[in-house]
Symmetry: C2
Subunit: 145 residues, 2 copies
C-alpha cells in the first residue's frame, strides 16, 4: 500500500475495484449489481441453467449465489423452479421482465476497451500469464494449508 511503490498484489486490487466501480456506476440506473448482471448475461446467452452449474460457471460459492438469485427472484427478473429430474436442483430461467430488461441494458464492453485498448498484445499476454500463474500458486497453497 506504500505510495509510488505498490506491489503487483496491490495493483490487482486497485484495478479490480476500478473496473467494478465503473460497472456498478453504469448499472446503477437499472438497479443492478455487477454480479447480478453476470447472472443475467449467462442466462441470456446459455438459456435456462441449473443453479449448481451457474455457480460453477461464475465461480461463486453456493451460499453467495443463493443470495444473489434470491434478489433477482424478488425483483422478478429470474424464475427459480425445481427441476423434475433431481429434486435438489433448481432450474433458473429469465422471466419475460428479465428478458426485456436485458435487451434495454447498455453494452458494457466499453469498460474493457477503456481499460485495455491500445496496449500491446504481447504485454496483455504477459499480464495474463503472470496473473494466472500467481493465482494457481495461491490456490494450491490455500488448498494445502
Amino acid at each position: 500500500m506504500e505510495d509510488e511503490h505498490l506491489t503487483v498484489g496491490a495493483w490487482t486490487k486497485r484495478c479490480y475495484f476500478a473496473g467494478r466501480a465503473l460497472m456498478d456506476a453504469t448499472l446503477r440506473p437499472y438497479d443492478l449489481g455487477s454480479t447480478q448482471w453476470y447472472v443475467l448475461w449467462h442466462l441470456a446467452r446459455s438459456g435456462p441453467t441449473v443453479q449448481r452449474d451457474l455457480g460453477r460457471a461464475l465461480e461463486l460459492e453456493r451460499a453467495t449465489l443463493s443470495g444473489i438469485i434470491a434478489t433477482l427472484v424478488r425483483k422478478g427478473l429470474v424464475q427459480q423452479s425445481s427441476d423434475g429430474d433431481d429434486q435438489r436442483q433448481r432450474l433458473l430461467t429469465l422471466t419475460t421482465a428479465g428478458e426485456t430488461l436485458w435487451r434495454d441494458l447498455p453494452d458494457l464492453s466499453f469498460i474493457h476497451q477503456a481499460a485495455f485498448d491500445g496496449i500491446a498484445e504481447a504485454d496483455l499476454a504477459t499480464t495474463i500469464r503472470v496473473l494466472r500463474l500467481a493465482t494457481e500458486r495461491l490456490q494450491t497453497r490455500s488448498r494445502k494449508a
Copy 2:
C-alpha cells in the same frame, strides 16, 4: 468468465481473491480480517494516525474505514480519541493489547513470495505497468461520468 479464454479483467479478480483468501485463512486464528490487518500494520509502522490520513493511505472510503475502526475498537486493539487540534478528527492509536497482538502475528510476506517468486522481473514490471495504466484509465472514466 468463459473458461480457458478469460480476459485480463477476469484474471485480476481471480488473483485478487486468491491472495485475499490466503491472507484471510492465515489471519483467521487471530480473529482478524485482511483490512483490519492493514490498519494494524500501518499504526505499528507509522504510529498514531488521524483517521482521515489512514483512509487516504489505505485508499478506503470514510464509510468503510469507519466500520473497520469500530470493529477494532470493539476488540480493544485500537483506541480512538479526539485530537485537540481539530475537534472533527479522530486520532487512532494501538492499545497495549493491539501492540501485543501485532507482535504475535505471523509474517505474511510468504503470500507475496508464493505468488510471484521466480517470475522474471521484466514480466512483473510489465504486469504492473499494464495494471496501473488500466486502473488510471478506469478511474478517469469513472470521474468523468
